[in-house]
Symmetry: C2
Subunit: 104 residues, 2 copies
């Protein structure tokens, strides 16, 4: 079974500064994680009732299995990506990880 | 740009009942959504500090674009999948949708 890391970013104080840092610095760092099979960044729009989305960005990273995920996070690239959170994610972040299966 | 629907399910009262309904009824219903390109169901484990995950399951559904997503949700299959939430997701659900890009 595949293994996913899902990072939910709270709405930042400055969307412009967050998006610039995410796109130009953080995403390239995270893309260096060894064994990464897929990596998407989604920016949710307003909810169906018109309220603002509770998360500004959702990053979804997929590895072949939990061992590959653990190895990636323990690598130099993993440590660099985690350390970079302090540079742009001060509004808070929820980190989820677990086994992932295709339902299609 | 692709378009994703991300559904965050709160921890259910009965994990066994939730998982059974999700796997045997809801996922097959959602898999019928027209135009669906990818659909994963991830069950997060405890967080790094040992706390229980704030969400029990994260469903990630991907379409080619926003028009395909809107058409899927307006379809009979989309209405059936949304109506089925009442049968197992009483603990609450956060629904996000928005443009998604590969960062790899």
């Amino acid at each position: 079974m595949a293994y996913q890391l899902i990072v939910l970013y709270n709405p930042p104080e400055s969307v412009t500064a967050f998006d610039k840092h995410y796109d130009e610095t953080h995403a390239p760092l995270a893309a260096e994680l060894p064994g990464l099979r897929a990596y998407t960044a989604t920016r949710p729009g307003p909810s169906a009732d018109g309220g603002s989305a509770p998360y500004h960005l959702v990053a979804i990273l997929t590895w072949d299995d939990e061992a590959a995920f653990n190895a990636a996070m323990a690598s130099e690239a993993g440590q660099a990506a985690v350390a970079d959170l302090a540079n742009f994610a001060g509004a808070g972040v929820t980190v989820l990880s677990g086994p992932s299966e295709s339902a299609l």
